[in-house]
């Protein structure tokens, strides 16, 4: 009897230790996650497409919508059709058009319509500059550019074209930059600056509203290559065989954060070539794909405001001296002020209204309007969900 009891106690203790250790994978304590849980908002955001005057356009799981701030009304621009949801969209404020990408039976289809939803047409051109026929549309970016994969005109497979659409005649995807001959590589991510995805392609300029991008590629074996582009050239970022989560630049320095939480720094590439970014710090956090990384500078210190995978940490701020790529690098969790509603949310898109003023769209918890007064301390405000202005 005593032996049986001892056996039962030993087994249950071992089971307890086994399962308790499982919780090591959790992002926060179980009851803490529960206590911090938020009621979901019925809107499932995917992307803040852009602003046209007093109108905000956004993409949700149900389709494309227009919120008119002057009349406080929301109207459907394009409702999702079964099996053909809109994945990505671009707002062309010059021509009052919305370009969007849907799944058309296994292939990406590009459509164009007026901002009121009328005049919807499918873009049917088969011409992509410097690529042979048979190319595959991979992505429509919020800045209106397309990422296309194919074989270039000299037969190099796995080439990637960043292009813009020209109505023509003839209608075609015109080359901005071509990255040719990446055999065995496929797209891992196209990274744009948080809050500034809708800015035009170019070297960083907050007067003309241009921002660069980083294209990351990966092999089936897990080898990564990363290329910085301002739309005029590609510049390889070497010695960085990791998946990138996000980046930030002020036009002088470039800061990169990997999904496994390492911060790297570099000068901004001035032309084609290659650079090996300098490791700055292991941030001891995990980051999601296309993570929120928003930079601000004050008093000689640059602050990268980030959202990690640790659900109940609101925002995670990484600070270092302006334009340095050396230590010290300090980190701090901010959960008050501008970050007060950012715990247990999944940021899917951000839109910078002006420096430090952002709309933050979340997957399940609605849209927030935040004002960052002091990135380091949390000073600022947060309104919402679903209580925002332009």
């Amino acid at each position: 009897m005593k032996r049986t009891l001892t056996c039962i106690l030993t087994i249950t203790t071992l089971l307890t230790l086994l399962f308790t250790s499982c919780n090591a994978d959790a992002s926060a304590g179980l009851f803490k996650q529960l206590a911090d849980a938020k009621k979901p908002v019925e809107i499932r955001y995917r992307q803040i497409i852009g602003k046209d005057g007093t109108d905000l356009y956004f993409l949700t799981n149900d389709g494309i919508y227009n919120y008119k701030t002057d009349g406080n009304t929301t109207t459907t621009v394009r409702e999702n059709k079964k099996g053909h949801p809109v994945y990505e969209a671009y707002l062309d404020t010059t021509n009052d058009l919305i370009i969007y990408l849907i799944n058309g039976g296994g292939n990406a289809e590009i459509h164009q319509m007026k901002t009121d939803g009328s005049g919807d047409i499918k873009l049917t051109t088969t011409v992509a500059e410097d690529l042979d026929a048979g190319w595959k549309m991979k992505q429509l970016l919020a800045n209106g550019l397309f990422v296309i994969k194919g074989t270039d005109t000299v037969g190099q497979t796995d080439s990637f074209l960043v292009a813009e659409y020209q109505n023509g005649p003839p209608a075609e995807y015109d080359k901005k930059v071509l990255l040719d001959d990446l055999p065995g590589y496929d797209r891992d991510a196209v990274l744009q600056m948080s809050g500034r995805q809708h800015w035009g392609i170019g070297g960083f300029n907050d007067t003309t509203f241009n921002a660069p991008m980083i294209l990351s590629f990966v092999t089936s074996g897990g080898s990564y290559e990363h290329y910085y582009t301002d739309g005029a050239f590609f510049h390889q970022l070497t010695s960085l065989d990791k998946s990138l989560a996000g980046f930030w630049t002020n036009g002088t320095s470039l800061y990169l954060i990997t999904k496994d939480g390492n911060l790297y720094g570099s000068v901004v590439p001035a032309g084609p070539g290659s650079t090996a970014p300098t490791p700055m710090k292991d941030l001891s956090r995990q980051f999601p794909s296309n993570a929120f990384v928003y930079g601000m500078s004050s008093g000689g210190t640059t602050h990268l405001i980030t959202k990690t995978k640790t659900a109940n940490e609101a925002l995670f701020v990484v600070s270092f001296a302006d334009d340095t790529i050396t230590t010290p690098v300090n980190t701090k969790v901010i959960s008050t002020g501008y970050a007060s509603q950012m715990s247990n949310v999944n940021i899917v898109s951000a839109f910078e209204k002006s420096a430090g003023n952002l709309l933050i769209a979340t997957e399940k918890n609605g849209m927030f309007d935040i004002t960052i007064t002091d990135a380091a301390t949390g000073e600022g405000s947060s309104a919402g969900p679903e209580d925002y202005t332009l």
Partner: protein
């Protein structure tokens, strides 16, 4: 709060004294129970921050009213006390519509001061619970105190209404999670069908 508690305890002691002389059960008698009902998340106390979150919903425990089902078996070791065990399944939806689940399995000790057509079982349990919510899951300790009123219209089958308090602690070994160590309390309200022999 103190007065009703004193009244209940007095009643139990009196009923115990009244009916102690006529036990229905012998040593070796058995009870089989099937239980279903609801659970009310009552509080969560965080040891690190000393923060007490009470009640249902957002900004409190984060949980909604849930459900529980369980089976138990007990055997009398004296005419008034029984030992045994219970295993059950509990769920509560969180405010974010994710599911919190708990599978308690525990040893149970019951005292039945009032026996016969009407019974008042008072039970305490100690054991383990496997709990899960989103990316967190662990096996942890579990304890409870329950009281019920059982009515036996016949010799063997009875129905009961039960309530009490469950306590589920969360102790994390991971340094990063230790600050979230907590104790959660639930109030179950259940009906059960019991077969006695």
């Amino acid at each position: 709060m103190k007065k009703p508690l004193t009244a209940i305890l007095t009643l139990l002691v009196l009923s115990s004294a009244l009916f102690a002389a006529a036990p229905h059960y012998d040593k070796g008698s058995q009870l089989f129970s099937f239980k279903v009902g609801t659970t009310l998340p009552t509080f969560t106390y965080f040891f690190g921050s000393k923060d007490l979150k009470g009640g249902l919903g957002e900004g409190k425990t984060g949980m909604q009213v849930g459900g529980y089902g369980g089976i138990s078996y007990q055997v009398f070791n004296t005419p008034y006390t029984a030992i045994g065990g219970e295993i059950g399944y509990n769920f509560n939806f969180a405010v974010d519509k994710e599911l919190f689940t708990a599978v308690p399995f525990y040893a149970k000790y019951s005292y039945l001061p009032l026996q016969g057509k009407w019974e008042i079982p008072i039970s305490t349990g100690l054991g383990f619970a496997y709990i899960k919510y989103k990316d967190a899951q662990l096996m942890t300790l579990y304890t409870n105190l329950e009281v019920g009123v059982t009515w036996y219209p016949g010799e063997h089958w009875g129905v009961a209404l039960n309530t009490g308090l469950w306590l589920i602690p969360e102790f994390n070994y991971n340094d990063a999670l230790k600050k979230d160590n907590a104790l959660a309390g639930f109030v179950p309200i259940t009906v059960s069908v019991t077969y006695r022999q």
